[in-house]
Symmetry: C2
Subunit: 239 residues, 2 copies
């Protein structure tokens, strides 16, 4: 029987799926998983996802860069927030980073608890590399959208749909959420940025008057040839 | 500020939403909410949603018709299952019905627990009547998909999308799930039956070799001018 591909719209729905022994791709387009891809592109050594800002701060004394975001804003007293532009700074090359974000780190930890065999980091930036990796692994796949506080969000779903669309032929598609994500992507792909700008999360950004254009950056494709993955407690990138 | 319209893809996600004081439309297209609409069209007096088959059976001695479905099949020893065709039987006119189904009755009970101000029953059969009712109520609305065992399903989402599409102008739309459901509906509406037949639930039916064509029946529009709603413990229909 062919390997399956499923889409899970928020971490709250992950427990309804059999996760053990499957590869999970964690997706938090705006912005955690995009920023993680950029960090490794810039040369970060490894990234430790942690649950809380308090826990994150502890790693300061072990010479980590400490990155904390809540509700789309960088927290005071931390080295980095969650914007991909911050992770282009050459000063992060060779450094370890402790990272806590509103949605992304939670999704990673949940996939680990439920005993996924591999946990990969996905974004539009590394879409092709990721699809190649999935075909090498030859396992059943769950595309896990980080969502927003356990609610559905549009941008993560569209990316999941893009992945299903690119790799559907290699998998058995028997999941309504995957079917819907793919059709949504196909229907919106020609105006992707416009649709994502209508999403609740992008509107949240606009209200915060963020200066850099994170939305456009996060929708770039295949600018990163790496696939970060969890190894023990750390996200690493071995290519 | 305008009233809002939100879509919730499965009961497992309802606790992430503010429900109190809002009207909840419960949606279980294949087949509980469709069958409930048909039952009132046929003249049923009232319907009591109950959690378990055991509880359902108790009402036999109070002269209720007892209806129980699990995993798309009617349970042995009950008067009715969950196919809308069964609810066209003139013998149910004037009768009280106790009903337990895999997904639909759970969604109704959850909306009640979370203190929705009104709980309405939605299906393609009463789509227009429902939209009219929502505009009369003039409250914020949650379209609650019953899903399949707390997972997303296609047919409930498509109906939610159809409702958003019909009534969006009356509401503030600030919910990614509503945006996605509407676009999915718009994209699939010309081949709705074909899409729903690809859904996991319809495939489940096919495997069970169900004889009547429930899928086609459940996608008919505006054949029922009634809007069943919860009153106390009972679903009633007062038009």
């Amino acid at each position: 029987m062919a390997n399956s591909i499923e889409v899970v719209y928020t971490p709250a729905l992950l427990p309804m799926h059999e996760v053990k022994g499957k590869t999970v791709v964690v997706i938090d387009i705006l912005r955690a998983t995009t920023s993680i891809c950029v960090a490794f592109q810039t040369g970060a050594a490894k990234i430790l996802p942690v649950a809380t800002p308090e826990e994150c701060r502890v790693f300061k004394e072990f010479d980590f860069l400490c990155a904390a975001e809540r509700n789309a804003l960088k927290l005071d007293g931390f080295d980095l927030g969650n914007s991909p532009f911050e992770y282009q700074n050459p000063l992060i090359a060779g450094r370890n980073i402790a990272l806590t974000t509103t949605n992304g780190t939670k999704a990673i930890k949940m996939a680990k608890e439920l005993q996924a065999s591999n946990i990969l980091i996905g974004s539009f930036l590394n879409l092709s590399a990721l699809c190649d990796k999935l075909s090498t692994l030859a396992e059943s796949v769950i595309l896990l959208c980080a969502g927003w506080k356990d609610r559905f969000n549009l941008e993560d779903t569209l990316f999941a749909g893009a992945m299903v669309n690119e790799s559907a032929s290699a998998f058995q598609l028997d999941c309504d959420a995957a079917l819907a994500a793919r059709e949504l992507y196909v229907s919106m792909q020609d105006n992707l940025e416009q649709w994502v700008r209508q999403s609740s999360h992008a509107k949240r950004f606009q209200l915060l008057h963020l200066q850099t254009d994170d939305v456009a950056f996060c929708l770039q494709r295949n600018t990163v040839k790496l696939v970060p993955m969890l190894q023990g407690e750390y996200i690493v990138c071995k290519q």
